[in-house]
Amino acid sequence: MNKKAISRNLYILYTLAHLKKKAKVRGTLFGYFWWIIEPMMLIALYSYVVGMIFGHKGTDQILMIAVGVTLWKWWSMSMSSGTKSFRRYKDIVCQVKMPLPILPASEVFGESYMFFFAYLLLQTALLYLGFVPDVLALLLSFAISTLAVSALSLALAMLNVFIRDTDFLVKFGLRILFYITPIIYPASRVPENFQFLIELNPFAYLITYYNNALIYTDRVEYGNMFYALVVSAIALFLLVRLCKKITPQIIRNV
């Protein structure tokens, strides 16, 4: 791919992501403030449920929930809108010569916008409370999660073209994943018999990377993170190749 094609594709990616986010808040009273209000409301809700109803106290606990909920919103919204992306942009898929992975990637990129605003708030609160992040671990966590979520979104988007039930299954799947990922509870509270649910869940690892980078900086393990980065990058590369190979089938079936 030449330089011009790369810059064109990046501009399409940016335009789709930016304009879609803009459209979402168009005509609302609070406008772009929703990018901040929404995650704050979620954090407040889960902190109330876990802190007040379940009685789990401690700043760490609330901060972990805040980190987890903010991240989960980013990933789940990316994957649910990524799943529908080929069908949503059917006319573009069928009529514009462009690499199709841009479409699910634009959903992930657009949700990253929202995450970034929520993250800034969160980081300010963390610094105020005395938690200084491990910047390298944070950057690695961001790179791993972007690659992994982009890969999953692309896989689900392709699957949804051929098996249209995928969209329904993703909605249920994400709800189940939210509860089996240690977001509103620490991994240590999961009974030993069910620890495999955490060991097999890639999102549990991603949450741990962020918690370690932001709160428990002494627990950061760079080796594991580099390994996860390589695996995510390979998965995304292979899925992009697969998408290119089956593009005629996608155009026919979308």
Binding site: S7, R8, R26, C94, K97, I163, Q249, R252, N253
Partner: protein, 247 residues
Amino acid sequence: MNNDKKLVVELENVTLKYAQSTSFNLKRFFLSKHERKRVVSNSNASREDALSDVSIKFYEGDIVGIVGRNGAGKSTICKVLSGVLEPTTGKFHSNLGIGALLSLKSFFTKELSGLDNIYLIGALLGKNKKEIEDKIEDIIDFSELGDSIHKPTETYSSGMVSRLAFSIATSYRSDILIIDEVLSVGDKYFKEKCNTRMKSIMKESKLIIIVSHSDSDIKNMCNRAIYLDKGQVIMDGSVDEVMNKYK
């Protein structure tokens, strides 16, 4: 014909087979073999070739009208020309920078404003931010949308959408312009304005492909016509000859 003109795009024995339709559903799974055959034969999947052994040469300065019944392969040929679909067999040569422009109206994202859609479509047509911004004023002026350009396109009438689509289509110019049914644009006044615009861009584009069901569009604008049926070229020649045959 056209031997004195420069060859710019060529389709050589192009056949495009439909990729197999492979959506899975339980209904299809439980249908009897007989029922499955009946369902398939009633659907598009029954025809194997979307284009069958198509050979066409396009020359610089051609304004080609493509006519044919629904399902004849008109839009498919546009997709091959714009590079979206690659021929299953045969060759496609092009010396031009392809500017994809098919059914532009369908690109509109209804929750975005007209202005945002100009950016989005510009990006999809391969333009960068500066190239898009250079044309914005021209697009808004020509479409006569005024302040409505800032409103979501879901609030537009179909005439407004058509006007905007036509303005975008004819403002972002490429060497090759492919227009698939974007010409049915509103009232008589605007139609005349469109015809004038088309005449001016005809001088600038190297190749224009127009797909239309309207006899008058083809007769007014094109200097050559191609009649397609069931994925095959039935006739390629002067507009009058082809339109007589098509009738």
